[in-house]
Amino acid sequence: MTNSHISGAGLGLRRGMLDEMAQLTRNDVDFLEVAPENWIGVGGRYGKAFSEFAERFPFVFHGLSLSIGSPDPLDEAFVRQVKDFMKQHNVLLYSEHLSYCSADGHMYDLMPLPFTEETVQYVSQRIRRVQDILEQPIAMENVSSYVTLPGSMNELSFMQAVLEEADCRMLLDVNNVYVNSINHGFDPEAYIRALPSDRIDYIHIAGHFDEAPDLLVDTHGAEVKDEVWRLLEIAYKQHGVLPTLLERDFNFPELSELQREVNQIKRCQQAQESNSESIYA
């Protein structure tokens, strides 16, 4: 495992939940995650609260606006701001989405990339540029999608090709694998098993919304579904126990409800660890 500074189960830190989350300790969650875009350049009460959390918890940054596959030029000034912010708070891991969120300007949400060889070359060259500026690798996340843009590759082969070509890390979102397996009709287990274990830094897990039997929406606004928990176990079995973060962005329940899901991640990890111990016992 390359990211020895985080392990266990994590939770996203959000401005709207700062007061409630202030009571959390390292016994409750092992690490926290934020979008740097929500905290860079923010002072006052929010800036102070963030600094306090950053002193108490290991953090990972999960970006939203890098727009790595965008037709627009890469915003290198922004990448440098992320780099400075990581240094300032001693954050060692930066993940982003293998997607784009701008075309002639920012649109503030994620669009899928066309899965073509040309796109692989284009996006990989941009990932390498970001890694050069940061002087460290970044982890790319598989994103959920509701349409497939015209292209000759499938999602799995596109992801594998980018990981190789860009020589970058991966953030495996098991909920997104599940959502896309329904939306686009593929085998989610086969997808997860085919990923390169040595490139995965950590895992995301989240809830989704069932729009229709063949159309799921990745809302991060509901509890994690059973099928997704099952895929998490499969991911652990295939790739080993990896740090895993619960995402929740809308319809916030009580913190105790989120803690229940964080604890379920921990149990899942412990069960897998004791299984693998017994093999070698």
Binding site: E37, G41, G43, S102, G105, E118, Y122, E211
Partner: protein
């Protein structure tokens, strides 16, 4: 302008077309033949997201426009922003600044605008209150209260956590209940105090000048500052000094003025 879309690779053209079909559903074609209900998910997610950022930054402007017109007038305005304005900031809190730029350009270009004349100024005020809350700026340390003589000989510097804005309307009083303000020059000081609480004060023109003068001449000595002010205003020197000392003392208490004695 060269049409870069023609020269760019096919996958880039695909991306741009898809983005455009999300931004502007009415005037974009579904050439790629996406299933409508799937395209609709993107269109709704994206628009609702942007609308949420704009609504939460400008609740008063939104309420007034919905009252004076209807909900769809507001939604059309946000749609116009989403379609026409190229947002450059990667930072979500700065989407409000992008909207301000859009609104300013819109009001300058439309002589027959259905927006109230004060719309941009009201929006700026709403943004200013948010900005004061989150700006990466330091307050001054609260120091022991100086006597009037000490303050008169102190050197003054304003903290970065205070701003004075001049408006043509009393924007702080505009609301859905009071949507028709009378035009009147209005100076508002918004600040973040030592407890990180945001507040504001209405200033008279003399206090606003006092603020601006200290901002432009950091380290100015109080007695020199007030003498300048008396000379410029033509007001009685003693009145300017006694009133000035009082307001400077208040600003010190708010941790927005550092007086070095």
């Amino acid at each position: 302008m060269p049409d870069t879309a023609i020269d760019s690779p096919e996958f880039i053209q695909t991306q741009k077309q898809f983005a455009q079909s999300i931004r502007d559903p009415l005037s974009s074609s579904n050439d790629a033949q996406f299933e409508e209900r799937r395209l609709k998910i993107y269109r709704e997610l994206f628009f609702n997201n942007v609308e949420g950022f704009v609504s939460s930054a400008f609740p008063v402007l939104k309420e007034i426009l919905v009252d004076q017109h209807d909900e769809s007038f507001w939604l059309d305005l946000v749609r116009q922003f989403f379609v026409q304005h190229q947002c450059e900031t990667p930072y979500f809190l700065e989407i409000s600044e992008e909207f301000l730029q859009f609104l300013q350009a819109l009001m300058e270009s439309e002589s027959d605008s259905q927006l109230p004349a004060y719309s941009w100024q009201l929006a700026h005020w709403e943004w200013m209150e948010l900005h004061a809350d989150v700006a990466d700026a330091q307050t001054s340390m609260l120091i022991s209260t100086l006597s009037k003589e000490q303050l008169l000989n102190a050197k003054l510097t304003l903290a970065e956590t205070a701003w004075v804005c001049a408006y043509e309307y009393p924007v702080h009083k505009i609301s859905a209940e009071m949507p028709d303000p009378i035009e009147a020059p209005t100076y508002l000081m918004v600040y973040r105090n030592g407890q990180d609480e945001v507040g504001f004060n209405e200033l008279n023109p003399l206090s606003a000048t006092l603020f601006e003068t200290v901002r432009q001449q950091p380290g100015v000595q109080t007695s020199d500052l007030l003498a300048q002010l008396a000379e410029h205003s033509g007001l009685d020197h003693n009145l300017v000094v006694s009133g000035g000392l009082e307001i400077l003392g208040q600003w010190q208490q708010l941790c927005i003025l550092y007086a070095e004695y």
